[in-house]
Symmetry: C2
Subunit: 427 residues, 2 copies
């Protein structure tokens, strides 16, 4: 079935700002609370939010097999369970409804009033109920930087890294949407030279610039997903800030991996951009440096050219962009990650989230964490309005943005923005 | 509010086998499918399953604040969200309904037919929808054994172990109830002497004898739970077999911890025994070997005397009990685990599951995994009907059982039993 929603020549009757992340070619999915306190699934064109629950009730999805309440939900999980064919039908229909040549809704003022919202009339929610969240570690530049800093500069990559899309399980309960502030975590940490830990606020709170993909129901317990089928089970992507506390991490992570250093908060952008919308931006991935096992060998272009940046905004000051990188640098792609995750029969469900791991590029201004940008705090990062940062300070806001652009069409993710508050105290 | 359900002198009018794990003093909670294909929440006395959904509809819980459909659900999550006071009221009421002195239901044949089931008329389900699953590593004997085998026999415990209840995130999607078979997983492994992994079936599939506790909603993002309040958020416990593939684990686990070696299956017993029912079996825990940070220091008895055993049953042969141990050996208790898990503000929700980690005792016949029992395969474990095991073989069934006993009252967990099938193949 063709993805007619991607037609680059289509115009919309919705007023759309120049250079928006959300042209009619995007049509992402999210969940929001409306001015009437109703929770609904929606999409966005330019700066207009569209209530898909209302559109469906008004009959605009006639002919597409959807249950009556599929969009009147507080998560996208059930819609995602409907599968790729349905997502595509719905996206194509939305493109049609808002096409400049279609005046059915355009000329129906009553319907427009029910369906369309300004962004300041809605409140974005978490788009899915995340059942399981896995984080990978798939940027060779990031893994190499970490290895150089903490292990052996001459053998920065661990022996398994070029063979395995290394990943680990994360915590779903602390995944939050853009805009929700995060408290500086407390925990155990070792002060240099001591062998007895102290307890207190983390002094090394960091962001990790990542992307994450959201899956649909993929397999039964026991059944692997072949690498070249894996993308059928990917609904779409979000921007992801995997907040990290480096001092807590260093003391706790051997031998079972990071735990409290990561699970205090994981912030995602609220609009899921579908894999369908990203089709025009496929590129070749990096050439493997070692031969990969057959279950990881794929055909075709499975990397995506997505420009990414991180900015730090101190309280009441202007932001400074501290890193610019690209999703295409990932050594292991999403299909490989999903094939690996399921090769032992581990079941993947609708709404599961899988993070890329920190996305660092080849140059020092393209690193995806303060740990790397300030090289463990040795090279503070200068801010535009004065001051500098080794790590994130109280009341700083961290903003990650991302978009694709090609031949005049831009498909963006908006942003994930979250402020670091001081340590939690009970009022 | 007194836990009248625990009265050791209470008798029931339900016929109950001698030495049952489920006397009227137990009253565990589970989810089952009835002979009429209805899913309901239930409890069990002796070998009789009790449909709590039906009991509630018939008015037997009058006076307790419960929503009409609280037991007509496919998981206990909403009931668990109602909190400790409600669990206690319901358990006390159930004890009352089935008390030998109460003939209200006993004498109502019509009601009895609706409410009571023989065990072969029902099919046990997963008792909760697990949002997040965490596994700890809290047995000092197990951590020491693993350290001796794979690291330094002289410094078997890692530097953080006596300070941190070490834990890591696991996969919820592969948690299954007793009775569901598990396929031998495939994955990457390194053959001794090679630096290039091969792909194939794990040759070192192991059980891990664990217990796990199920939580209720405990805290908001950012807010820690004090150690002496932590038990208020524990609903109850199950037996837990944390299936493990040792060869896959060895190659993948550095630096982010076990992943595919663990997430192919995690089997639990279907009846959740409440913390209330275990009150009479509290004991002192092991004395700390190093001073613990204040947030981990607790008052009172927070360990539980629960006798545990594991049996291996080869196909068409009798079982052999290969280990006997006790939950009371755990170095870190559940309250410490929960206080640690939330000290950074990580939110805990209803239905979250937290595993103890492998429970090994001090003697070689009390170790909680084949890895330790056969000491890496160096000392095969003899089976009663001939043959021996280094690890688990295809078609073996692994059975974990557990119970408390004191002054003639026995509170048991039943069992978690699961068969290891050969590698999955698409028919």
């Amino acid at each position: 079935m063709p993805i007619t929603a991607n037609d680059p020549n289509r115009k919309t009757w919705i007023e759309t700002p120049a250079n928006t992340d959300f042209p009619i070619q995007n049509i992402p999915f999210g969940v929001f609370l409306t001015r009437d306190d109703i929770i609904t699934i929606g999409t966005r064109i330019g700066d207009t939010a569209i209530d898909l629950g209302a559109l469906h009730q008004l009959g605009y999805f006639e002919g597409i097999p959807l249950t009556d309440d599929i969009f009147l939900q507080d998560s996208l999980n059930d819609f995602i369970s409907d599968g790729k064919k349905t997502w595509r039908l719905v996206r194509n229909r939305i493109a049609d409804i808002f096409d400049a040549k279609n005046d059915q809704l355009k000329n129906n003022e009553e319907h427009r009033k029910i369906v369309l919202f300004a962004l300041d009339e809605i409140e974005m929610q978490l788009p899915v109920t995340v059942g399981d969240y896995t984080d990978f570690y798939s940027s060779i530049e990031h893994a190499t930087n970490v290895g150089k800093m903490f292990r052996d500069p001459e053998n920065a990559l661990l022996p398994n890294w070029l063979h395995i899309p290394v990943g680990y399980h994360g915590r779903s309960s602390s995944i939050i949407p853009s805009g929700i502030p995060v408290h500086r975590p407390q925990g155990q940490k070792l002060i240099n030279g001591s062998d007895t830990p102290i307890f207190g606020p983390s002094r090394l709170v960091d962001f990790e610039l990542e992307m994450a993909f959201i899956t649909t129901d993929a397999n039964q317990l026991g059944e692997p997903i072949p690498v070249d089928e894996a993308e059928d089970y990917i609904f779409g992507l979000v921007l992801f800030n995997d907040w990290s506390a480096r001092d807590i991490q260093k003391w706790e992570y051997v031998p079972l991996g990071p735990f409290l250093a990561k699970n205090f908060a994981s912030s995602i952008s609220p609009w899921i951009v579908t894999l369908d919308a990203l089709e025009p931006y496929r590129v070749d991935g990096p050439k493997p440096l070692k031969e990969q096992l057959p279950y990881l060998q794929y055909t075709g272009k499975k990397s995506f050219d997505i420009k990414l940046e991180v900015a730090i905004q101190p309280e009441k000051k202007k932001e400074t962009v501290v890193s610019k990188t690209n999703f295409k640098y990932m050594y292991w792609n999403m299909a490989q990650q999903l094939a690996h995750h399921t090769v032992n029969g581990c079941p993947v469900n609708s709404g599961d989230m899988m993070g890329s791991g920190t996305i660092s590029g080849p140059t020092p201004d393209s690193y995806g964490s303060m740990l790397e940008l300030s090289w463990r705090g040795e090279k503070p990062v200068q801010l535009n309005e004065g001051g500098s940062r080794k790590f994130i300070e109280d009341n700083d806001t961290v903003i990650i943005r991302g978009y694709c652009e090609k031949e005049g069409t831009r498909i963006g993710f908006g942003e994930v923005s979250s402020q670091l508050l001081p340590v939690f105290s009970k009022k």
